[in-house]
């Protein structure tokens, strides 16, 4: 699988993580979650096979990957914010607004204007989030919740339902495949790789981890924590913008509930922590998040194949998320503090 290549490296870089010990490769959540994804796939394959089905068909695998794209994009962005110890609850409404802006702009103008409009909107929302969190010192939870409410009002005031139309040329992003692999997966991988480089290989990335690990110490050692948090929010919103563009191309139109019905706000946070990123910030990374997204998508597909009651799915998801984080906490605690 494409992402596994990233996973082993996840151990390095962050200022806060202690030097890996003997058994640490397995203990690293980013590795663990990819193993878990493999395990879930294996179990799913066995269970589905036992009922006479075939889980690992091409259609199915492609479906799983395709279904990971939107959540993956959001979760990757969310990772950046959570690493700094912040949080973004406005992503769901930003996606909805993003699809609407993309579709309506592209209807009247060109694809490029549409893309730029969405990215500009995303950057502006991210900047606003970052400024409210750092400038007004409003807790990120409340700040982004407030932004979410404002965006919601904006959407409901200006759009009375699905709007706009995406040109056929733009729909290639949502529907095309290169060989068996959906093109949109490359978008996810490109964004994830870019973010991976930013978080692991740049000064800014180092600052992200430092800010999330201990903001006070980071500031004392010369990190401009305020800028770092703002930049993380902008990065996150840009990823969300990319998700909105992907959804717009897939849906062919903008939909006011594109982001909210799927609960991308809480789902993305769940995927991030499932991937081993610590909610308080400072530890974790993009590779783990992708693994978390994959686990959720594989679970979903298994449930689909087995025809599990959709309400029961939520129970399992809740248990999986809590259990995973409990497991990470256990492992983390066993290391010398």
């Amino acid at each position: 699988m494409t992402g596994t290549a990233l996973a082993p490296k996840a151990d390095r870089a962050p200022a806060k993580t202690r030097a890996p010990r003997g058994r640490s490769r397995l203990a690293d959540p980013a590795v663990g979650v990819w193993l878990a994804a493999a395990a879930v796939t294996g179990i799913g394959w066995i269970v589905v096979a036992a009922r006479g089905g075939d889980f690992l068909t091409l259609t199915n695998v492609v479906g799983i990957l395709q279904n990971s794209v939107a959540l993956g994009l959001v979760a990757v962005g969310q990772t950046a914010v959570i690493l700094t110890g912040s949080l973004d609850l406005s992503v769901a409404y930003l996606i909805s607004l993003g699809t609407l802006v993309a579709a309506t702009t592209m209807e009247d103008g060109s694809v490029v204007t549409g893309v730029l409009a969405v990215l500009a909107l995303s950057a502006a929302v991210g900047l606003a989030n970052g400024l409210i969190v750092t400038g007004l010192k409003v807790n990120a939870f409340i700040a982004t919740l407030g932004t979410a409410f404002i965006l919601r009002g904006w959407i409901e005031e200006n759009y009375t339902g699905p709007a706009g139309k995406v040109p056929a040329s733009f729909q290639h992003l949502g529907y095309d495949r290169m060989g068996p692999i959906p093109v949109s997966l490359f978008l996810l991988l490109a964004v994830a790789a870019a973010l991976w480089v930013v978080t692991r290989r740049t000064r800014f990335g180092h600052h992200l981890y430092a800010t999330g690990g201990d903001e006070h110490a980071a500031r004392l050692s010369g990190v401009r924590t305020r800028r770092t948090v703002i930049a993380a929010h902008v990065l996150c919103s840009l990823c969300v913008g990319a998700a909105a563009l992907f959804l717009a191309s897939r849906l062919g139109a903008g939909a006011p509930w594109a982001g909210t019905e799927a609960r991308y706000d809480l789902e993305s946070i769940a995927a991030v922590v499932l991937g081993g990123t610590v909610l308080a910030g400072g530890r974790g990374g993009v590779a783990g998040t992708l693994g978390g997204v994959l686990v959720l998508a594989v679970l979903d597909s298994v449930f689909n194949q087995l025809g599990v009651d959709p309400f029961f799915k939520n129970v399992v998801r809740g248990v999986v998320i809590i259990a995973a984080v409990a497991l990470y906490a256990r492992r983390g605690a066993r290391r010398p503090a």
Partner: protein, 385 residues
């Protein structure tokens, strides 16, 4: 920024403000400090509440007729109770996102049980519901403390589990009715004029205020302020946290009794309540992350939120704008609370003879590592250093 190091949100702010507060204390009397601290966290919400109540009176002169005002309180009661429960969790440094799901699951499950046993005594059902809420809270607390899962995740998972489980059980929608005697608490009145819900709200409010004045309350705040310090001081921090979650669960179950009583069976009885409750608590000046804030202010926050909704509705504001206004007010209120009051304190801290930074911070776990010039709440500069 004099030192050029930037500023920070979150706990460091609190510590620094605490430090600033303690410096202020050296320059003023202890009594003054008490008032300042009480107002410091709560003042914006009381101001907001007064403004909203005045606005309500201006919009609708009949608003303060006793029965209409009581109806308003009755409507606010579930949120106030939820805010009180949420306060206990927040003040010890945690979150409870599962309260909305507890309300929904409580209403739907009660209806489901009534569907099977239509003649179940209401008192038993209510008690059972409260007990179930306590159990949900207990599970939240144990997972958070024993398994060291952040409460945000614990209660998010609990939310998914509860909603999934109750609708899996009922096949998607509630199958029974809530009988009138069960609904009395949420819908009926005592002596023909005083809604039971108002009494329940008052009782819950008094109980939680007493609770916060007890040793347990101090334990809770100490835990939220600095877990390690509290632990070293002999506080059983885990037990305090677990109890806070249990109380929050019970509060949510009580809210379920009121909501189910007020409006009957609904598959979305508790939708959005978790965010509203947290918003209310934060509006009351309670710091997320714990250690500061008063429960009365948190409940005032809930009243403010309800007053805001009522006022917007009376104003005929369109549903769309409603959420925008809500968002702006929440951010503004919290932002003003964070910014203005630290500035006020700074001014108070500046009287001659009391050079800032001369006393070490006592309230915070760490000594103030920087002079007050780097106090995070000074975006515009102009600090004495």
């Amino acid at each position: 920024m004099s030192t050029g190091t930037g500023t920070s949100p979150g706990t460091d702010t609190d510590k620094a403000t605490d430090a600033a507060e303690s410096r202020a204390a050296t320059a003023t009397t202890a009594a003054y400090k008490t008032i300042a601290r009480g107002l410091g966290t709560g003042a914006p919400v009381y101001a907001l509440l007064i403004v909203l109540l005045v606005a309500l009176a201006a919009t609708d002169p009949g608003f303060y007729e006793p029965d209409r005002f009581l109806a308003f309180v009755k409507r606010a009661a579930p949120l106030v109770i939820l805010a009180a429960g949420q306060y206990l969790v927040i003040v010890c440094g945690e979150f409870d996102l599962s309260v909305g799901a507890i309300v929904t699951a409580g209403v739907v499950a009660t209806a489901e049980v009534y569907g099977t046993y239509p003649d179940a005594p209401w008192l038993l059902m209510t008690a059972g519901l409260l007990l179930a809420g306590a159990v949900a809270g207990l599970v939240n607390g144990l997972i958070t403390t024993r398994l060291r899962v952040p409460s945000f995740i614990t209660t998010l998972g609990m939310m998914l589990i509860l909603e999934g489980a109750v609708f899996y059980w009922t096949g998607g929608s509630p199958q029974g009715q809530l009988p009138q005697d069960f609904r009395q608490v949420g819908r009926g009145t005592a002596m023909g004029w005083l809604p039971w819900a108002v009494l329940a709200c008052l009782a819950a409010g008094v109980l939680v205020v007493l609770l916060m004045r007890s040793d347990f309350g101090r334990t809770l705040i100490a835990t939220g302020d600095s877990q390690r310090a509290a632990h070293l001081a002999g506080v059983r921090v885990h037990r305090a946290r677990v109890l806070a979650f249990v109380f929050s669960g019970v509060a949510a179950a009580l809210a379920a009794v009121l909501v189910g009583g007020f409006s009957g069976v609904s598959a979305q009885a508790g939708r959005g309540y978790e965010f509203e409750a947290i918003t209310a608590v934060v509006l009351g000046g309670v710091a997320l992350g714990g250690g500061r804030g008063s429960v009365v202010a948190a409940m005032a926050g809930a009243f403010s939120l309800q007053a805001l909704f009522t006022w917007l509705n009376l104003q005929g504001v369109s549903g769309a704008l409603e959420s925008t206004v809500q968002g702006v007010i929440v951010i503004a209120a919290v932002g003003i609370g964070a910014a203005d009051f630290s500035r006020l304190r700074r001014r108070r801290a500046r009287p001659p003879g009391a050079p800032p930074g001369s006393t070490p911070g006592i309230a915070s776990g760490t000594p103030p590592a920087t002079p007050s010039g780097t106090s995070p709440a000074t975006p515009s500069g102009g600090t004495p250093s």
